[in-house]
Amino acid sequence: MEPSTLGNVASLAYSLPEIVLGAAVVLLFLLDLVVTRKETLGDIALLALALVVVLSARLLWGDSAALFHGSVVLDGFALFFKLLLALAAFAAVWMSLGSREIQRNETGEYWAVLLASTLGLLYMASATSLLMAYLALEFVSLTSYVLSGFMRNSRRASEASLKYLIYGGVASGTMIYGMSWVYGLAGSLDFRAIHAALQSGEAAALPLYVGLLLTLAGLGYKVAAFPFHMWAPDIYQGAPIPVTAFLAVGSKAAGFALMIRFFFTALAQPGGAGVYELVGGVDWSQLILVLSMVTMTFGNLAAITQQGNVKRLLAYSSIAHAGYMLMGFAVLNDDGLRAMLFYLTVYYLMNLGAFVVVMLVANSTGREDLAGYRGLAWRGGAVPAVAMAIFLFSLTGLPPLAGFVGKFYLFAAVVEKELYLLAVVGVLNSVVSLVYYARIVRTMFLEQPTGGEGVVAVDWHNGVLLGLLTIGTLVLGVAWGPLIEFAGRSTSFLAY
């Protein structure tokens, strides 16, 4: 099927979510000058994102098309991610409105920058040319530097932001250098044109491999895969909690979206029966397979050593989860992609949920260290502790929670491809992860409070979000049929 490629003006009708977001960013910057109560700006951001979700959802029933002369695309895959990313931003704004850290710094531009970052994420999910991909990615990076260093009075945040900037600069520099190799070999920036060039055998395999490796540096950096993960622990720990949650869920998802689209449309082609074939003579699936095993093993082992800051621990856990998701990437078929999309959604619920609890604890006690969680279940209301236990066991992958179903589909895809080594490494990693997730649970439930920790209160604003995420984690653990179907339908790219 030859997709219809629309020009600039005709594309606008299909870009309503992005237009709304862009307009909201401008509006927020302007309103910041006149509005004194900065939370109002947050409410406006929330409304804008809700509108984006609705507008993106409406497009689900519409046609697919290549927009802006083929630099971005609107297809099921892009829409899946746009919904997920807009929801991630929505949750981040919601969290920000209930976060002490954010409220203490009465600044209006925060909301605008957050929305701008979301705009970049949406374009990452739909870019179909290297130029657009690079611009979107860089736009997200720049806004993320600002967000993570947002607490100007905190040395830790400033350090985090600076580290992020340096690592990010190196990674994106490496990536654009890699892209230039790919461009040199294929003669085009467009994914489809690259694919065509590779298929005709114009490109030599070795330079292409080098180009891909270098490109992978930038993408691996966004999803926090080994060995491009170094920024994650410091940034997760230093950034305000809602921003950390946003980076952990949104930035990672968009990174995966771009990575999947680039590799599956430019460097592979459908070979029938939901299986993809490699083109260009570079077996990058082996590379991803190794990357996946190393990433999850490193993330989990490093997380075990973390006894102090819970956010830092969750950073290593998020590295491990990037490794799990890469399993779905390495199998090179629709089942693997479906499993990845499903896992990203589930990851959204459980990881955000964990961060909401972290925020609640920080709001009430100002603590992020593990000792601050001691006896959390026995200090008055047990709601945060129980919810945290649900999220952590879901992250471990225990039924009947959503995380189990997510991992189940990933492992199923791996076993189906008969990659037993990967499967065994993956499942044993789940056991390893139990060690550190259970350590938090142990601290909350099995240890008694010593007195000075204080009560963790759940206000209605954060409670609503926490409740929704908990229910989602529980419900998707037993009734995931509709979501897996939706994920399955969203694995088709427009390019073919």
Binding site: L398, P400, A412, E416, L434, R442, F445
Partner: protein, 504 residues
């Protein structure tokens, strides 16, 4: 009730857990009463099952089959046959009893009983599930309540014991997950239906069978627990509160051997024949002897009972691998008998621990004069555990050994001799705790009370009745087990014949 009886038995406790969670926190008696009330209907249903179970067929009975996730061919599929029916009965009985054994729980009663009911549901689910995916879900769901029940309400080293139990079981279950997926994808159309998977057993290649068998076996062996995966058990048992020890030893350990019978045997018969000697018979014998020797060395009453469980589960492994009718029937009968006997033992340890707050065998003495009724009950349980004729465990152990004698006389002699060791540690413990000079400190210990007797009576009756007349249980199980035996031995024979016909 007829068709959905198993579903009710599984999910009524879940409903109970939800109800318990809605009760006010400080209404302890109300919470306990509610929890007890929700274990009664499953018990009544299990009696109904016992009466209405068709003993003449090997088919699955009381089946419910509903598509769950059609796109992946996952079903909600439950049913019982001779292999699982006794375990369902045991689970219903012990869950009911353990609510009363938990009556003394004071810390966070609401959470305790809610978790206990979830555990109850998961155990019931494991024994009823006929869809591998469903089986796996129940198998894993069991871990969470168990972790908290040991970890929050356990003894001094509870945190260590709880996480050790959790990690060990999880290592086993993730390997099971991979094997399950491998079985699922092996043939078209992909299915998790255990009966369907079993009917395809002849299509699996030998290499595949071996690997899958080992992966599944490790998962189940950890649960049994077979040497060298047994080290979690003494810790978990010693630290767990009384009722949870009862559930652990009475029901959870059986899941290991049940899993082998339900999954390894019918699905991978060739590999079963291949590995039966070393991994079930020889390892089972080793379990029997090793467990008994370890038990003899213990000074902690509860740890002694824990090691005796390892020893007694060895008979189950031994019996089921003899591939004889006596052996396999004896093995499943032993699963049931061990469940009742060891439950009594742990309840009795709980009685003394509640009073003296320690379990040092050498710290007592002469309790017979102070607590005569309690001593009487203990004597009954001890003699049953020793395999004294006239009590239930005797029959099952004899059947197992009879089954073994035909093919493995040497190991049968070793296993049979271990009964002497069992008698040794049991009687020695008896002597140190109940006979001799009374310890001054414990002269005023109250004797066993009505609630405690109430938990012991049903088990005592079963132990005595089955010791004289084991037919009620044997009738339930024999048809299915003999069939399973034939299937495994038969399929392996066919495969061997096919292999030898290729040779000149």
């Amino acid at each position: 009730m007829p068709t959905n009886v198993l579903t009710w038995m599984i999910f009524l406790p879940v409903l109970g857990a939800i109800v318990v969670l809605c009760l006010p926190r400080n209404a302890a008696t109300l919470i306990k009463g509610t929890a007890a009330a929700f274990t009664v209907p499953p018990l009544i249903m299990s009696v109904w099952l016992f009466q209405n179970f068709d003993r003449t067929t090997t088919e699955m009975q009381f089946v419910t089959k509903i598509p769950w996730i059609p796109s992946f061919n996952i079903q909600y599929f439950v049913g019982v046959d001779g292999i699982s029916i006794t375990m369902v009965l045991l689970t219903a009985l012990l869950s009911f009893i353990c609510i009363f054994a938990s009556w003394g729980i004071e810390k966070a009663t609401k959470a305790y009983f809610a978790l206990f009911l979830v555990l109850d549901a998961a155990m019931m689910g494991v024994f009823c599930a006929l869809d591998f995916f469903l089986f796996f879900v129940f198998w894993e769901v069991m871990l969470l309540p168990m972790y908290f029940l040991i970890g929050i309400w356990g003894g001094p080293r509870r945190e260590y014991a709880a996480i050790k139990f959790f990690l060990y079981t999880m290592v086993g279950s993730v390997l099971m997950l991979v094997a399950m997926l491998a079985l699922y994808f092996y043939a078209e159309p992909h299915t998790f239906d255990m009966l369907e998977l079993a009917s395809r057993s002849s299509t699996y290649s030998t290499g595949f069978q071996r690997i899958a068998w080992i992966a599944l076996f490790i998962g189940f062996a950890i649960k049994i627990p077979a040497f060298p995966f047994h080290t979690w058990l003494p810790d978990a048992h010693v630290e767990a509160p009384t009722a949870i020890s009862v559930i652990l030893a009475g029901v959870l350990l059986k899941m290991g051997t049940y899993g082998i019978l339900r999954i390894n045997y019918p699905m991978l018969p060739e590999a079963t024949m291949e590995f039966a000697f070393w991994l079930l018979i020889a390892l089972g014998t080793w379990n029997i002897v090793y467990g008994a020797l370890c038990a003899m060395a213990q000074t902690d009453f509860k740890k002694l009972i824990a090691y005796s469980s390892i020893s007694h589960m060895g008979y189950v492994m031994f019996g089921m691998a003899t591939m004889t009718s006596e052996g396999i029937n004896g093995a499943v009968l032993q699963m049931f008998n061990h469940g009742t006997v060891t439950a009594m033992l742990f309840l009795l340890v709980g009685v003394i621990y509640d009073r003296a707050h320690h379990r040092e065998i050498n710290g007592f003495g002469g309790l017979a004069g102070i607590m005569p009724f309690y001593t009487g009950w203990t004597a009954l349980a001890f003699f049953a555990a020793m395999g004294l004729p006239g009590l239930s465990a005797f029959i099952s152990e004899v059947l197992v050994l009879l089954g073994g004698w035909r093919h493995y006389p040497a190991l049968t002699i070793v296993s049979a001799s271990a009964v002497v060791l069992t008698a040794g540690y049991m009687l020695w413990a008896m002597q140190r705790i109940y006979l001799g000079k009374a310890n001054e400190k414990y002269l005023d210990l109250p004797d066993i009370n009505a609630r405690e007797v109430f938990t012991l009576v049903p088990l005592g009756i079963i132990v005595i009745v089955l010791g004289v007349y084991p037919r009620p249980v044997l009738d339930l199980i024999s048809k299915s087990l003999d069939h399973l035996n034939l299937v495994v031995a038969g399929k392996a024979q066919v495969a061997l014949a096919a292999a030898s016909s290729v040779l000149p």
